[in-house]
Symmetry: C2
Subunit: 168 residues, 2 copies
DNA sequence: TTGAACTTTCAGAAATTATTGAAAGACATA
DNA sequence: TATGTCTTTCAATAATTTCTGAAAGTTCAA
């Protein structure tokens, strides 16, 4: 297998994977591209590699910066900006957890609190609703604590530790 | 807050949440609806509650069955089918992990193996590519083991245990 | 075996999401 | 402050995803 084709396949499938998880396909592809690039890339490079427009490249690179997954840099003698990805996979994972938690999990938890409170009705329907909302709230609270620990942990050993612990 | 409006908000936001994670919004809404329903519901009921067509209701209820999140049942004297959701949140979580792992993580891991093997080239670019693919493979392997343990675990205590363990 | 009740399918339509490209903006140099 | 280079924005357009509804399929009681 040639490098170019392996790289293309990697980028394509990473894009597909991203889109199954609600991430813009192009954003995921740009991330994949930078992850395997030995050098920082310009917006121009990214446009060429992914066959996308300048606007699209700009928007998705900015989104990756907002997600904390890539950064801008400058190369001496060059005017334009270059982009490079965080390559430590554990750091990448933590960052993704952190952002998804903030953007998606926390609003959901707020909603659960909101809809769980202040329902006076005591019909079986109301009880069932309150019970489920409460179950979800308890669960999300545990998950939240766990994810927060992961975000703050410096090491990937969490996985290994968890594995050992759960042997049983 | 009235039950009806709390329920509507819950269903809507659950749908939004699902769509951010790559789950069809209507499928997530139907799941939310059944989660908080005290009784099994007919397709007709679901159509009315969510304001969707028969075809849409049918497809999304079937998808939920395929995901192992709801089941069909019969009510004596009734000809049509009724649907009810698994309500144990830990079981629901395990089932979602199991399915996403099977549908999305495993193909990705196969891809990593495929593109990582058989690249002869030894340029810095090729080395960088191979290194990253290998990092991802190692990481996904750990994650895979961890998720498999979670899927097989009978208890939600994993979270609590993990929390204690990680105190540090 | 017929037909009423219900379920499934899927081609076309609608809604949503993503992309383009041109214009405006920013910045550095002279 | 003019000019060239590069970046950002966003309205219009395109691509993708989802939904509808009618027809076909299934089931079952009579």
């Amino acid at each position: 297998m040639k490098l170019a084709e392996a790289k293309t396949q990697f980028i394509q499938e990473w894009g597909t994977f991203g889109s199954k998880w609600g991430v813009n396909r192009t954003m995921a592809q740009a991330h994949a591209l930078l992850l395997v690039s030995a050098e920082p890339m310009s917006a121009e490079n990214v446009m060429e590699e992914l066959n996308i427009s300048r606007g699209n490249a700009n928007m998705n690179l900015r989104a990756l910066i907002d997600w904390g997954l890539i950064r801008k840099t400058h190369i001496s003698g060059e005017r334009r900006e270059f982009f490079y990805a965080e390559k430590d996979i554990w750091k990448v994972t933590r960052q993704v957890i952190k952002e998804r938690k903030r953007r998606e999990l926390e609003p959901l938890r707020n909603m659960l609190t909101e809809v769980g409170e202040g329902i006076q009705e005591e019909s079986p329907q109301a009880e069932e609703f309150k019970k489920m909302v409460n179950e979800l709230r308890k669960f999300s609270s545990s998950a939240d604590v766990m994810l927060e620990k992961m975000v703050k942990s410096e090491q990937q050993w969490i996985f290994e530790s968890l594995m050992k612990f759960m042997v049983k």
